[in-house]
């Protein structure tokens, strides 16, 4: 019986032994110059005409080239596919000569026809970065003069036009046309690339793993022979998982980390936090049309009652105070107009329709701890002048839906203004022009005809000094209206491992440039 038992158990024991041995095998070593990123977000698309956020922007810069590219800190618009360019005296025509050696990944040249095709497609699809060109460039206004010369005719002069061209990524027309489908290639380009950039696509497993493989003979060459051979982007939704992964060395970079994690991990195992400061403006929007905050005097009372030092403490002192609606490196005002002054707050409140105080609702996005803490500081600050603040968390999708109608838009809502391009127009137009009222950049429905006129005049001006003066006038009006509480330029949220020693030297605080793998060296 015992022999029978042993005979029956032997195969099972052998299988278990093989499993144990197999499981204990070391993990296959990744390529020596392969980098791994642990990211909160998934790349739901890499279509240049659709995707428009930090992670997708970073990915687009690896697969595609644009005429210009942001490089360095402070970010400079650098000619990339463009060899040279000229602007007509009236500021309406931009004539750009392309670099003749640029080629797509299939070897075909990046020519003027490709630029025209890409511009027209972006405007036609009308999503993502197309919004940057609204009122600036119309369909049919981009023409090929010859094989390497393209001309843009603008609807009106636009000073930062080269800046927004950093978001016009050039696609290979032949590839897109061959995969057009019935949606202008949107489905195809969701998970395929048609670019000329320094990386091409490897494995692409949605919501799990995205692989960028270096193009060794990239037409611009590589700044370092130790450039990444590949970059693997892993989706890690849990912050604790990202933290463990960077700490253990499983990944080389993580994003969307809290200040607490930045402080805890700085210097551990050679880890650094990204240098910053960012150009991301964080402010609290107030509803300027409906509810109590439609009263400008009340808004000014709130602005004088906020404990701004406590606000900075949310980021452990790593943020930079704002003096107005622009980040510090672009700021026109050197001193903040509003600072903690309870006497001024009470005086403004007395002028308002709510001298005895009022109840307000602060709404923030579920899961964003910085925004929750902002609400707590506001609640505490405003209680000093008799304003009672209730705090509500809602999903981002619900918030965006509520913005469309001023009757449903919140009294107080915190918002990060991303840096699509490093120019005052990026911030001021999106947040304060009346055409953007109800969009998620202007949830408070702010509108001021004088400010509109100044912003329209400024974006059409090509002289930098004149633009600065116009923006200064607009800023003064905006500050007087106090539509927002201007809190901070937030610190960078990336944490970098020791295998990217030159990250800080190549850091650029523009959306999509905080992970510019083309410039990185990989330490052995």
């Amino acid at each position: 019986m015992m022999n029978t038992f042993k005979r029956r158990m032997f195969p099972l024991l052998m299988v278990v032994a093989l499993l144990v041995v197999g499981v204990l095998q070391p993990v296959a070593a990744q390529g020596e110059r392969s980098l791994t990123v642990g990211s909160l977000v998934e790349l739901y698309t890499i279509d240049p005409a659709v995707g428009f956020d930090q992670a997708i922007g970073s990915s687009l810069k690896q697969f595609y080239d644009a005429l210009f590219r942001y490089v360095g800190n402070p970010p400079e618009v650098t000619a990339w596919l463009a060899d040279s360019y000229s602007v007509s005296d009236d500021g309406l025509k931009y004539t750009i000569t392309l670099r003749s050696e640029a080629v797509f990944h299939d070897g075909s040249p990046v020519n003027a026809d490709a630029v025209v095709y890409s511009a027209e497609r972006l405007l036609r699809v009308g999503q993502g970065a197309a919004g940057l060109f609204t009122g600036v460039l119309s369909p049919g206004s981009t023409v090929a003069i010859d094989a390497t010369t393209v001309e843009f005719t603008l609807d009106q002069p636009y000073g930062p036009f080269p800046d927004i061209l950093t978001w016009l990524f050039i696609v290979n027309p032949a590839v897109v046309e061959a995969n057009l489908g019935d949606d202008d290639g949107v489905t195809y380009l969701t998970d395929h690339e048609a670019g000329s950039g320094p990386f091409t696509m490897g494995r692409w497993q949605a919501a799990e793993l995205y692989e960028f493989v270096a193009v060794d003979d990239y037409w611009r060459g590589w700044p370092s022979e130790n450039h990444p051979s590949s970059v693997i982007r892993l989706v890690m939704r849990e912050a604790s998982t990202r933290r463990l992964s960077i700490e253990s060395g499983e990944v080389d970079m993580v994003d969307w980390m809290s200040v607490d994690d930045l402080v805890a991990l700085e210097g551990v195992n050679g880890i650094i936090s990204a240098p910053g400061p960012t150009l991301t403006v964080y402010d609290v929007k107030m509803n300027t049309v409906e509810g109590p905050t439609a009263d400008p005097a009340l808004r000014r009372a709130i602005a004088y009652a906020v404990d701004y030092d406590s606000m900075q403490a949310i980021w452990g002192g790593r943020s930079t105070s704002l003096t107005g609606p622009l980040p510090p490196s672009l700021a026109i005002s050197s001193e903040p107009m509003y600072h903690l002054d309870l006497d001024a707050a009470r005086a403004a409140l007395a002028e308002s329709a709510y001298p005895d105080g009022v109840d307000l609702e602060y709404v923030y996005v579920t899961g964003l701890e910085d925004e929750r803490r902002t609400g707590l500081v506001l609640q505490d600050s405003l209680a000093e002048i008799g304003i009672n603040v209730t705090i509500t968390a809602i999903p981002w999708a619900d918030a965006v839906a509520s913005f469309a109608d001023p009757a449903t838009a919140p009294d107080l809502f915190p918002l990060y203004s991303g840096t699509a391009f490093a120019d005052p127009d990026n911030y001021l137009w999106a947040s304060f022009h009346s055409s953007m009222a109800g969009n998620w950049t202007n949830p408070g429905h702010y509108a001021n005809a004088e400010v509109d006129a100044l912003l329209e005049q400024a974006r059409a001006e090509t002289d930098a000094a004149v633009r600065s003066d116009l923006y200064g006038q607009a800023e003064a009006l905006i500050l007087a209206d106090a539509p927002n509480l201007f809190i901070a330029a937030t610190p960078e949220d990336h944490i970098i491992g020791p295998r990217i020693p030159n990250y800080a030297d190549n850091y650029s605080p523009v959306m999509g440039s905080m992970e510019d793998f083309y410039f990185y060296e990989v330490a052995s």
Binding site: L18, L19, G22, V23, L24, Q25, P26, V27, A28, A29, Q30, G31, T36, Y44, T45, D47, V50, F52, G126, Q127, G128, A130, G131, L132, T134, V186, T187, T190, D191, Q205, A206, A207, E208, L209, I232, L234, V235, R237, E238, S240, T241, L244, E247, S248, E250, T366, P395, W396, A397, D398, V400, A401, S402, T408, A430, S435, M436, N439, W440, T441
Partner: protein, 343 residues
Amino acid sequence: MGRPYRLNMLTFLIRRVVLIVVVLLGLSVLTFTVARVIPADPVRLAAGPRASDEQIAELREQFGYNQPLYQQYLDYMLALSQGNWGRSVVLQRDVGPDLSRYFPATLELVLVSLLIAVSLGIPLGLISATYRDRWPDQLARLFSLGGVSLPSFWLAIVLQLTLAFAVSWIPVSGRFDRVAVTPQPITGLYTIDALLTLNFEAFTMALRYLFLPSLCLSLSALATVARTVRADTLEILGMDYIRTARAIGIPEAAIILKYTLKNASLNTLTQIGLFFGYTLTGSVLVENIFSWPGIGNYAVSAALTKDFVPLLGVTLLTGFAIVMANLLTDLLYAALDPRIRYS
């Protein structure tokens, strides 16, 4: 004279299939209605921060969101009948391929966790019953209490911090090694696909990544199975036929394994059937922590962005899986207990 067994079983199956269709139809109406009446605007979200009202309206028309609600529902069901699960407005891709990618990942996690629950829970319950009120029983009951009490997400983080951080061959997160090539896709379950293609390296790799998340997910079911087996075993051990078996000298091991276990497994089968549905829908926290690319995360993302079409797809697919699991449970009941006959 009674109807033949096979005819009764066939009638039972037909009736259950009809009921499944009715249940899923009802589920689709309920989910569609609830999802669409909640104030939300996924089109505005998808269009981006700088989209004009015209661009948003164009996108809304492109996805049919400007149609009456009943028309949208009919269009959706018609497309579904042709195998088209619709298109996500936020992700801008078809839902069908997403479901076929994410569902097997969750199914694999759930099946392995149930396998752990059964293969450890049954012996634990038997030991607990056999050594009633002695230290093995006390220890097993303490373990069971912990299993049903501890939140799986908390346990997941603790295991990551302790085991994964300390032991190099236990990965912190993910479903497969980032460098290695995944098994050739056949079922979508990496372990099964690896075995079918005789890729034992991939098989062990998949097991390595399954270990922690499935362990976390299994504990609640394991504890419940152990408690159920203990209770049923104790009841059966007190019966006359067991007393008779002991009296005639049958070894205790044979009494437990041969005469008790099968009769004690019916309630366990019910528990497993219930836990399949519970685990399938409750895996999202564990998936989130271990970056497991399953249906849970997909559903939560769709819910947070009010992306109705993926939400519908997940609900219908999960509902289908659960009713099929219940049907399988009922059929296994009949197989295990010859006294059970359906009609």
